[in-house]
Structures are given as C-alpha cells and as structure tokens.
C-alpha cells in the first residue's frame, strides 16, 4: 500500500514537472567532421563536394547526452560514426546542393577509455574512423530519409534524417515504444579554418524528437490492459 502511495506521488510529481506542451526529447549532441568516399577530395575539394554514388560519412565526439543516460554512460571518450549513407540523387542549381540518400545509413555511438580519437588528414586514414569506432558500442540507429542541403551562396548547410534506435549496450534505457521517431540533424559548414585537410565540413548536430509528444485517446479498459 505504502509503495502504491509512493508510486502515485512519483507519477503526480512527474506529471506536474512536465509542461503540457512537452516536446523536444533530446538524446545527444555531437560535433565533428564529415567526408566523402570514394571522392575524398585531394588536394582541393570539388564543387559540389558530393555526387550520386558517393558515400557520406562523419566522425566526431558526442558532447552531451540526455540525463536519461546518467549512470549508464561511463567515463572515457564518447565518439560517433555516421556511415553507409549512399547518395541516390543530387541536384546542384543556383549554388544550392541537394542530396538524397538510400535508406539504412547507420549512426553509432561508442564509449572507450583510450581517449585516442584522432581525425588525422585525408580520411579514411590510419586513425579515422578506426579510433572513433573502438571500444563499446553504446547506442546505434538506422537512419533513413536522410537529406543533405548545402548552400554555396551562404557557405552553410544542413542534413536531416529519421533515426530508429536499434542496438547498443545502452539501448535498454529507451523503452521499445520510444526507439523510433528520432531526428538526426546537423549543420555542415565551410570554409572553416578548423577543418583538417581532406574533411569537407565541420558539423554540429543533435539527435532529438522535435514534435509534440504523441497522445492517443484510450478507454480505461485499454489502459488497465497495459498493466496486466
């Protein structure tokens, strides 16, 4: 009985702590650099930097996690690798590049104590992506509907795709009903003096659910069934 009372109090606290317009679940933020395979540009990057048949990749560091991973995410280095994003169409008109990708790109986050991530130059190279994919696979997602847009007039661009979490040691933290619907988004920008040679853009991004928390009408009977 006492436990029920505590549970009720807990549920009420949570309900009132969260605004009615609750939205924008946050999974993680990241920063790093992207590159293109096999069209790794040497010595200068072509315009546009990616075309049909190329594979888009990115490596970097996870800079923050949602607090739902507190106690699950350990110490050491947290890196990510975006790969298997194959270009299916490309449009480049008026200085604006738009690229779409085949389904099933993969975004993975790794945890390791080596703190050895090293971008190097002209990827793929001896340290990239290898030092970004060592250690324990913490979380992975299938990425589909990925689109990249880069505006050479503003020297700025972005990418966006739908992510479904489906692997990794920390996957259990996210209930099965909440593993789909995430949005993998990022900014891609150049020219930028901090970009190592051979990489194309410095990227800054996030994985989040931007839409309002979905709600559905249910009967008390259906709700009770959930707990039986």
């Amino acid at each position: 009985m006492k436990r029920n009372a505590w549970l009720l109090l807990f549920a009420v606290t949570v309900a009132f702590a969260t605004p009615a317009q609750a939205q924008g679940d946050f999974l993680c933020g990241y920063t790093g650099f992207d590159f293109v395979v096999p069209q790794t540009p040497q010595p200068t990057i072509p315009t546009p930097f990616i075309t049909t048949g190329d594979e888009y990749r990115a490596v970097g560091h996870v800079t923050s996690f949602s607090s739902m991973f507190t106690g699950v995410v350990g110490g050491g280095e947290h890196t990510f690798y975006l790969a298997n994003a194959s270009v299916t169409s490309q449009s480049f008109v008026g200085g604006v590049l738009e690229v779409t990708f085949a389904p099933n790109a993969r975004f993975r986050i790794y945890e390791d104590g080596a703190n050895n991530a090293d971008y190097g130059v002209n990827p793929a190279n001896a340290t990239s992506p290898s030092t970004f994919v060592d250690g324990m696979l913490l979380l992975g997602a299938d990425v589909s509907n990925l689109v990249l847009i880069y505006d050479y007039n503003d020297n700025s661009g972005n990418f966006l795709g739908n992510a479904t979490l489906d692997e990794g040691a920390a996957l259990w933290v996210v209930p099965p009903s909440r593993r789909a619907g995430w949005v993998l988004g990022g900014q891609a920008g150049r020219p930028n003096a901090s970009i190592p040679e051979g990489y194309v853009n410095q990227i800054s991004g996030e994985v989040q659910i931007p839409s309002a928390t979905p709600a559905a009408h249910k009967t008390w009977g259906q709700i009770k069934t959930l707990y039986r």
Binding site: L7, F10, V14, A17, T18, P19, Q21, Q23, G24, D25, F26, G29, T31, H61, V62, T63, S64, F65, S66, S67, M68, T70, V73, E77, S91, V93, G94, V96, E98, N115, Y119, N145, V147, I149, D151, N153, D154, N155, S156, N158, F159, L160, V173, V174, P175, R178, G185, Q187, A188, N192, A193, S194, Q202, S204, G205, E206, Q208, P210, A212, Y227
Partner: protein
Amino acid sequence: MKRILGTAVLSALLALGTFVPQASAQCVTGTGVDILLKWDANGFSFETGAPYTNYVSPAGNVLTNVLGVTLFCAPLSGLDPNDPAKEYTMVWSNLVSGGTVTTPFGASGSKYSTVYTGGSFALYEGPINARAWTSSTIPAPAIALPGYLDGSVILSGVIDSLTTTVTRSSLGTVNGSFRGKYRVTGGTYANQFCAGNSPDALMDGLWFPVNPPAGYTGHNNGKFDAPDCTTPTQSTTWGRVKTMYR
C-alpha cells in the same frame, strides 16, 4: 508491480531528460584553430517586431538568442560548464533582420535566408537557473531572459554578421543552419584573446525551426571558434623594409 514501477521510472527519465555534457569532448582539431565554446540544442531564438511566420523574418525585426554553454576550450578551458555553484549563459542581442529572402532550389525545395546585423553578445557567469532548460521546459522569452542575463559579464563583443538559412527539402523536411562572425571587445576575460585585440572569428551551427517552444522561433546548437591570434606575415624585400623607416 515491478513492471509499473519500471515504466514509471523510464517515463520520468524521458520526460525530464536534459543535458549532461561530456568532459571528454575534444577541443583540439589539429589545425591550430580550435573551438572556443559550444552549446547543445539548448540555444533558443526569438524575435520582437512583426510576427515571424513560415520561417520568414520581417525586415526590422530584432532577434535575441539565449543559450547555456556545455563545453569550454582554451583560453576558457578553466571554466567548468557543469560547475555545481554557477552556470555560464550567453545572450545575443539587437540583431536587426534585413528581411528573409526566399529562393527555390532542387526539385521542389525552398530556401529562407536572413541576414541580421548590428548585434552583440555577452557571456555571463551567474547563479544556476537557466542551464537545465530544454525545448520542453523553457518558459516564455520574457520569463526566461532574466535567467540568462544574470551574473557578471566575463566576455562580450559584437556580432559583425549573422546569416540564418532554413531549408525545406524536396522531400518536405525542414532544417537550418547559421553562420556569422563575432569579435571580442570586453568582459573580464577579454585580455586573454589576442592581448585584447581580437580579430573576427567564426560562429556557426544548427538552426532548427520546427515545433519551437511557445514564443520562440527555433532552437539551435553550435560553437564559437577561438579567434586566430597569429600575427599575419608578408613577403617583402629589404629595400621595402628600409623604406618603412625613412
């Protein structure tokens, strides 16, 4: 019972999810130009003036952006964004919109570019009140702004230019980015930047306009690069050097 408790705990964690910065985030990129500071999806922009609708900022609107820093690098690496006693927040102010220019691209895409000018920024070290706000929890701008403005200004300067680019792709997805230049002119840490003579440096990041919190035009993440304090060099002849002293 266990199942109910588990569900309740997981729901609570998801509902209250906020940011936990990672200490391991790498500042050095190996090129000599490094990140100065970064924030993660907890930047929020709003405009005063005419209504901002469909990613279009009317000319003359004034943009404000507030954010909580999640990573500091040199020369600010001594600051801890997770300090339990204080927080570091930044406010961009007085960025006047030149009006949004809409341009089609690709099969059926649209681009919304807006240039803002005349702005400034200030980085505050103050009491903890705004750091944990997310898209789900940030209050309306008038209530939130004081939480970002309190404390002492440790770095300030001008934003010489800011361009936001929102795109609606041919698939219908919407995303955006920003790019600008800032220059340090004041604050207690100003003398750590090129001995007080800081040149323009890059600021850029994601500018996400979909389903913003009430009263805001979107959320953003991004970074300021550290100013490049390298003294520029130039090839010349001894004759020209002598001429400089005559």
